[in-house]
Each structure stands twice: as C-alpha cells, then as structure tokens.
Amino acid sequence: MDLHFGDSKPTDEERAAVDSLLGPPTSAWEGAEDRTDADLRWARGGREARERRDLLLPGLHAINDRIGWISEGALDYLCRRLTVPPAEAYGVATFYAMFAVKPRPAKVLHVCTDLACASKGSAALCAGLEERLGAAGSAAGGLVWQPSPCLGLCERAPAALVIQAGVPSDEGSVPLPLASTGSGRDGATQVQLGGARPSWPAGANPAGPARTGNGVSAEPAARRYTTAVIAPATAEALVLAAAEPAAAPAEPAASLAVPQAGQPGLSLLARVGVVDPYSLDDYRAHDGYRALRRAFDLGPAGVIREVTDAGLVGRGGAAFPTGRKWQATASQPVRQHYLVCNADESEPGTFKDRVVMEGDPYALIESMTIAGYAVGADRGYLYLRGEYPRALRLLQNAIDQARARGLLGDDILGQGYAFDIEIRRGAGAYICGEETALFNSIEGYRGEPRSKPPFPVESGLFGKPTAENNVETLINVLPILNQGAAAYAAIGTGQSTGPKLFCVSGNVGKPGIYELPFGATLGELLELAQAPDTMRAILLGGAAGGFVRPDELDIPLTFEGTRAAGTTLGSGVVLVLDDTVPLPRMLVRIAEFFRDESCGQCVPCRVGTVRQEEALHRIVDRTGADAAQDIALLREVGAAMKDASICGLGQTAWSAVESAIDRLGAYK
C-alpha cells in the first residue's frame, strides 16, 4: 500500500481525541512527534496496523465527539494511526450524517422532521426555531440547528436531539482506556462511557478534574461532551436546551413509552418499567439469566432446535426463520464466527428497539450471549444507531456489569464458553441497518450494501460466518427458552408465532410500544392506542412499508395476514394519520427520506429516488389528469427501483408511495 499523507497536522485536542481511543503512538510511522533510532530501522504499517481498520468509525466518532467536526489534520492523523488511505477515510467520514468535514459549532441541534414528527407539528417547530435561531444550517452563537431524519422518538413527537462536542465525561475519572487492551477483533476495545452509574442527564458530569487524553491538565472549565433529548419539544424548550444541554430536563423513563407497562401477560415488555435498567441484580431478580442457564443445559444444537421449533422468524421486516439462520452459521467449518445485533433501527416510525434497550438492557445482553453460544461465536457486535445516547449508556453499563460478574468474558458461568460484546455506534445512516452495509460500516468502510450471494451466514463480518439479528428477534429467545418451544409456538398463528412489538405513533391518543400476540387485528391494536375517528390513513411497516385505509382494520397483524392483504408488516410500524395531515406532503417527505438515505452505489436507487422526489414535488397540489403523467412515470421508475436495486432500500423506496396512490387514491 502506497499511502500519502498531507501536510496538515492535528491540533493537540484532536490528537488527544484519537489517542484516547488508540493510546499514544509508539513510533514516528504512526504519528509520534519524535523520530527515534528505531524508526529508522523498521517500518510500521503492515498487517497489524491494517487489521485495526475497524477502529476507523470509532476514531471518527472520537474526533467528532470532542471537536464537533473532523478537520483535515485530524483525519490524516487518524489515517496514519490506522494505516488507512486518507481518500478512503474521507469517503467514510462524508458518508455519515452525524459527521462534518467542514467547520461547524460544537453544539448541533437535530430537529426531527420525519413522518411521526411531521404529523405532530415539526413544521411549526422548525418555523419557531428559524425565528429564534436563524435559518437551518447557519451557525450562530456556537450553535447550529438542522432538520433531521427520524430520531426514533416517535411516541414523544415532535422530537429533537442536542449534541455538544467536548471532552468525554469519563475522561479524567477513569484511567485511559485501550492503550494496552489490544484492539478490534482480538482485544476488547471499548470506549468507556460511564462505567459508574451516572446521574441524569448523564454526560453532564461536573465532578472530577477535566483532563485531556494525554494526561495534561487543561482548563478546569473544559467543555464536556453532552447530549440532551427533548421530546416532545417546543421551540422555547429547544432554545433553552441548546444553550445549556447539561441543564436540560431529564428524559422521561422508557416505560412511559409502553402504555401496557406493568400489565400482566406481557412477555417481551414484562420487565420494562419494572426493573431498574442499571441493576444486574434487579434483572436477575426478575427472571434474568434463567434462559442462559437453560441454554447451557441444552447445548448449542439444543438451543437452535428450540428456536427452530418455536418458529421464530426475524422481526426486522424480512421474516427469515431465525433457527435456520443460526443453524447455517453454526455449521460453517470456517472459524471464527460472529454474532451481530442490529440495533440500528432508523426506519421512520420505529422506536421499539430503543425502548427495549433503555428499559431492559440486560435482556439484550443475555439474548446475545445465548445467540452467540448457539452459533459458535465468541464475539458479538452490537451496532447501535448513533442517535440513541441513553441506550448507549445503559447498554455499556449492562455490558460492563455483566463482564464484572462473569456473565461475559472468558468463562461465562464457569461453562468454559467465552463471549464478549462490543458496542459500535452508527453515525447517522439508515442504510447501515441493511445487514451487509452494517458489516462494511463496522469494518471501517462506507456503509454500502454488498451483493448477495454470498450470504452473511457464509461470509459476513470480516468475511467470516455471521449471524445477524435485530434486537426484537434476539429478545424473543428468552421466552422461547424460559417457556419452552411448544408453549412459545402456541402463541400467535401457525406461521407467525410468539408475541410481537408494534410501534404506534402519529395521531393517536396513546402512542407507544404495544406487545400483542401475533394475530391481533389492526383494529384491536388501534383501539388500545386510541385512534381518532378522523383517521385518513395508516402506514404499516414504516417508510419502506405501505399505507392501508381506515376501513381495513380487520387486517390480521401477522406476516401471512398482511401479505394476503397486499401489504406488509415490516418492522411493526403503525403510523396513524388523521385528516388534518396533508397526504401528498407526507409522500414528498418519504421520497426525501429515501433520496437522502440512498448510499448512492447503484443507479436505480441513486437516481431513481431523486426522480421520484421530483415527480412528487410536481404533483403535490395536483390531482386527476394533471397528475396522471407523473404517476405513470413514478410507476415505471418504481418498478425498476424495486427490480434492479442492489438492496432493500432501493427496492422498497417506492412501496409506500405506490400504496398511497393505489389504496388511498392519494391524487384522485
């Protein structure tokens, strides 16, 4: 490899941000300031350095978190440390929405303008902000605000997230991590985020001396890395929170997103709002880690048999049989195997994984341990969407506690099984929820999907056999093992077994996550959520799903039932729009979302999503014959996107619009 680094140098703070992740450089080859005699005799940067490529994304986060944006000098320094070509790293940095490669203020206010928030007045919110803070994207007073795709806070719409770049709150109170723990695939490289139980809002940690990464005392008033979630938001509250993120009011408990919280009969949500999400003891007192013990009794093949017999299928939208995926991964002769938890839910209208992770984080850790055991993986990656700061803190705490108690690590429960979990933060890219794009993202490449075949069970993360499941799929393993496959399979219908989580948002009285056995009808669900009498449309499955009419409430909420009705269950989104919501504008918003989130790799998606958005803009105020020509065009482009795109994003980018035209008569 012929690497070329420019002349730009990192600032001390940028260097400290990178070094806090990677430890100080040991040689001039990777950016140490002094060249020693040894450097003249050997060259760094062979296989050892290249194998740390997967630290590129954490490295970009480290810089962006501390400075607020990624300068040329900082990027080049990170590239030198990891032996990554700067052009490629630039391609990665510019791929993610949360990173900036141009200077911007340390405080960024992301205001969600996606479907659920749009139905709850995000347009007025943005107008209010424009009045108080100036136009979106213009920096003033150390702050910039910008519209954002779905933040996954749909039950509390309209929502916003403030991120203030600064020194991580753990630094100075915890010894420098990583310098000696190895890295990447082999060592446990962890960005320590609050090992101790933080007080809300965490991230604001006024105690402890402020120190920079290389141990040099800095100004005592160093700016702290802080995040604040404001939902539901008003313009006044946002201005206040943006001015002083650390003093923003705490987020309400995750259980408030679960209207059924504490009710008997819940399985997946039984502990949300009941247990202390910080306490491993409390989790164990509520049935925690019983399933893992049962898994050890059954052995890996036994676990796979139970999951197969239970009829569990993937809950991310594709409905692939989980047992078959695990079996296929487990039976690959190649070592090593990986388990990946897809916690990148970015589908507009989806927030169930967030609520589970915030309300019952240990359940996910236990489920991943069982899944890893079943597929023969000794390493699990938890790919968490970057916009979920509270879930990150809670999961990191749960992993640390589990590790400290021998529930993760070299010898789990004395069973001789080694497994550890590493959290990887996404950085704002819906496409990274696609399973192969997620692998590329973890590996330090652009989050572009790969062509299949080969399938992940054969060649997945780092080219090794990988089982990837989303959060909801994984936590279903607990009731399967606790109740037994037969009892689990008795819930729901023949083809859709078990309980299912639904994310209800939009114009309903009680938005939130609902758990129902498969087979309940749309009407039954909407009755629980108090749908209005003035419903105009219901979006099933999110932006990649489809609309149904208010007179189709008898659709059974199962994979086969929605398929028979010509629609999809997708990820379990049920977004209700009443007659005050301008449907054509919502369709434009959906098209904008896909145009924004397309990775740009293949032509049908890269250009097709643009042409779709243009056509919808043209007909936003038109009906009948005036819209007919553009609707015909949309159909033709949509068919090609569906047929010829590389991945599910392009293939489904037209589904919701198509259903709005066909089922709702959107432009009649």
Partner: protein
C-alpha cells in the same frame, strides 16, 4: 505472441439460458455464459480486468424464482438455474436505468450508449428540464488528466483500479452519499495534492470518458479529435526492462494517447506514468 495462461480444468455446470440448455465452466458469471452463447447484454461498470461492482445495473437479467433481478456481470451461474436475459421485466429495468443515467450524466463519450438508448427506446428527457443533474465543469488541475464528473456514472472502476485491485495508490474514493456521492480525492482537494502517481490506469478503465487524457480532452474541445482516422500500433515500452505492451493511438502522425492491451498477462492493461504519458519525446517536443 499472445500468451494464454493455463488454468486448472474446471467442471462444467448446466443451466437454462433463454430456454437453451447451456454448459459453462464452474465459476462463470451469467454474463460469461451469455457472451459464450453470442448474446449481447449491455454493460457499463463491468470490466475485463476488474471485479465488477455491479453498480450500474444495465446488465440485469431475470433468474426464475428470485424476487428481484440479478446483475449478469457478477451473478455466478448455478447448476439448474433458469435465466431470462431479455424478459419484459429485464428490458424494462434496463430502459429505465438508461433513462436515469442519461438524464443525470453526459453519455456522449460512452461507447455504445446511444445504440442502447435507441434499442431500449429510452427517453431520458421525459423527466423534464428540471431533472437534477451534476452540471459541473471539468476539473483540470494537472497536465496529464482531466476529470469530468458530469460524465461519471460512479461505476467504481477507477476507485478499484487505483486501490487494491491494481495500483495500490488509493488516491481516490467515493465520498458523500446518494445523489451527492462523487469520486473524490482526500478532502476533495486537487489531484496534485493527492496520493496520485499518474499511472493513468483509472483512465484505462473509465467506461464513459469521465477520466481522460489531457491530450484527448484538448483535441475534443478543439474539435480535432477523430477516432476514425486514428491508427493503433502495439509495441513494447522501452523505459525499463519489464516489457509492458503499449498501444500507441496515432492521429495524423502524432501519438494522441497510449493504452495497453488488457489481454497481456503481464500488465492486464496497467502501465506506469512513463509508459502511459511519456510519449512527447518521440514527437520531438
């Protein structure tokens, strides 16, 4: 003399191609099988010496039983599969892809594009005059290359050729995403500040003329570029002892560009800066 590299014998597998039983060596792509059967499938991002990225999607074919169409250039033939290369679905997608491409990029120097647009009855202008396109001025920041991103279809061939598949320079990558994605150097700077070693291998693989020799670009601007009267002579590079083959493109007794035969087992079309660009001394300049 062309050296034909010997390979291990491969097993043959049978599958149905447009209703015909076809036998191809294991590991062949559907496109290989089509070409062996004399079928012409349009391709843009496929290249003979690089692993195709299958990003352009003009070569899509219908595989029976599959939910979506498959790119012929990279989908391997499997025993027993049934493939339709010219089904209405495949033809429709190809037509739309050509329309999408031609409406957003300048395909005027893309070989065969006009022919395919005609064949598939594509109408790129039906997206209206306001259809988004790049409309960027060519980037001329050195004396050897011109980068004209208005012609770029982002097939990734230049990135692969510059990176791990050929040159290992990694001077360019794709930056940004979606419609705003561009082939870019680090920090979007000029090529002269990048890791570029001016081997020109990216020009060699560019299927649309988005990357071109400055000499060719200047002649096209001046209206003096005339491929019909050009002759091509393959000779051996005299700069060093490797013995790379050079194909000299000569117009009116002047070398106007240098390429290299892709079937040469030593270079596979690769050259270095001297072989590719060091021809002016021949012309006493």
């Amino acid at each position: 003399m062309t050296v034909i590299p010997l390979r291990l014998p491969r097993r043959l597998l049978e599958f149905t191609l447009d209703g015909q039983e076809t036998r191809v060596p294991e590991g062949s792509t559907i496109l290989d099988a089509c070409r062996a059967a004399g079928k012409d499938i349009p391709t843009l991002c496929e290249g003979d010496t690089l692993t195709p990225k299958n990003a352009c999607r003009v070569c899509v074919v219908e595989v029976e039983g599959a939910r979506v169409l498959a790119p012929a250039c990279s989908r391997k033939a499997e025993a027993g599969m049934t493939v339709l290369t010219d089904s209405p679905r495949a033809r429709h997608s190809r037509k739309i892809v050509l329309e999408l491409l031609a409406s957003s990029t300048d395909l005027s120097t893309t070989p065969r594009a006009a022919e395919w647009i005609k064949e598939y009855k594509a109408k790129p202008d039906r997206f209206g005059p306001d259809a988004a396109r790049l409309d960027e001025e060519p980037k001329i920041d050195n004396d050897l290359y011109v980068r004209d991103y208005d012609k770029c279809i982002q097939c990734y061939k230049c990135v692969d050729a510059c990176g791990e598949q050929w040159q290992n320079s990694f001077a360019i990558s794709v930056a940004g995403r979606g419609f705003d994605a561009r082939i870019s150097t680090e920090h979007d700077g000029p090529l002269t500040d990048s890791a570029c070693v001016y081997c020109g291998n990216c020009i060699e693989v560019c299927p649309t003329g988005a990357l071109s020799f400055k000499s060719e670009f200047d002649m096209r601007e001046a209206g003096t570029w005339n491929e019909e009267i050009q002759t091509e002579t393959t000779t051996i590079c005299a700069y060093c002892g490797v013995g790379c083959n050079l194909t000299l493109h000569v117009q009116e007794n002047e070398i106007v560009k240098v390429t290299s035969p892709h079937d040469n087992p030593v270079t596979h079309g690769n050259l270095c800066i001297k072989g590719r660009f060091g021809f002016q001394h021949v012309q006493e300049r």
